[in-house]
Amino acid sequence: MKARRVKGLDPDGTLADNAERIVLVRLDELCSFMPAAADPDEVVALHDMRIAAKRLRYVLEVTGPCFGPYAKTATKHVKELQDLLGEIHDCDVQIPETSAFAERLQGADAAALREAAGAADDLEPALLKQAPHAREHAGAAALATHLRARRLLLFDRFLELWAGYERKGFPARLEYAVSERSDVHNSQAG
């Protein structure tokens, strides 16, 4: 996902003023994926939301100390969100990989059994015991089931997490925090 362009950045302006513009755009970008990403089948929206969370996290990690105290809390929230979306993404990558693996095993066994049947009129079910990957199908199926169930569980956690952030007013509080300026490091300014 290409990042939305941030307008009005000025290299000679202050760090905080420029960072404020970046955070507001990245925050809006993140929030724009809801409610689409709340649909468990919207895998792309969820993936893009993860990328948006990553971008917001990194800008907050570097520039957060310029802002009001809530910026630090927001950084933790965004990291938590990004980590959880990353776990879901791993499932979304591994589920088709596991299916393809199971498919490869079945394909190889089917070819081997066909060869073993030779000139027979039909395939003898007892031949299945001779399939080269006979012992491996169960593990592939168990893994696929585990990944699907884990994805469902993690997705429910994501919905709860986001609902919690909304209840706590995360977007509005971060917007306010970036309009504030911390005074902790002002002596370093130059």
Partner: protein, 161 residues
């Protein structure tokens, strides 16, 4: 995992001065993490370097307007390419690690299938390691660290009147 160094920033300092300081620190973190990264017995090394590459890429994008655009684009492209190679190595590392843990809790009948998949992933890990080795050589040959430091210097230099 190696934690990113906290970098002091001041709200009122010039954006481009912060750019120079932050890029120098994040570039050093990336190249410091390169030691032993091709050793597949310790997957944390590639993880640390990958995270460092992501942080560096992120700060380059955050401070993009502060750098001379011609040089910046080439450096960003090379950082992305290195980050991609690290990601290609990291993906099978994570998958193998997760499957190894998963397999421990499986019934005996389910273990052979998972072991077979791990075997396939090891082959993928090995191919990705070769690509990463080539990418690390390329970054060195193209003087990526020095070019990053030059970008930082350019950001810090007073603009011509």
């Amino acid at each position: 995992m190696a934690k990113a160094q906290d970098i002091d920033v001041a709200p009122s300092e010039p954006y481009r001065h912060a750019a120079a300081r932050v890029v120098r620190v994040r570039a050093a973190e990336l190249f410091d993490a390169a030691d032993g990264v091709l050793d597949t017995r310790d997957i944390e090394r590639v993880h640390d370097m990958r995270v460092a590459s992501r942080r560096l890429r992120a700060v380059l994008e955050i401070f993009a307007p502060c750098f001379p655009q011609g040089e910046f684009k080439g450096v960003l492209r090379d950082v992305k390419q290195l980050a991609d190679a690290l990601g290609e190595r990291r993906d099978p590392d994570v998958h193998i690690d997760a499957l190894t843990a998963f397999s421990k809790s499986l019934a005996a009948a389910n273990k052979p299938g998972v072991a077979r998949l791990i075997e396939e992933l090891r082959a993928r890990q090995s191919r990705a390691n070769e690509l990463l080795a080539a990418e690390l050589d390329r970054a060195q040959q193209r003087g990526l660290h020095e070019r990053l430091l030059a970008l930082a210097d350019a950001a810090e230099a007073e603009p011509e009147p």
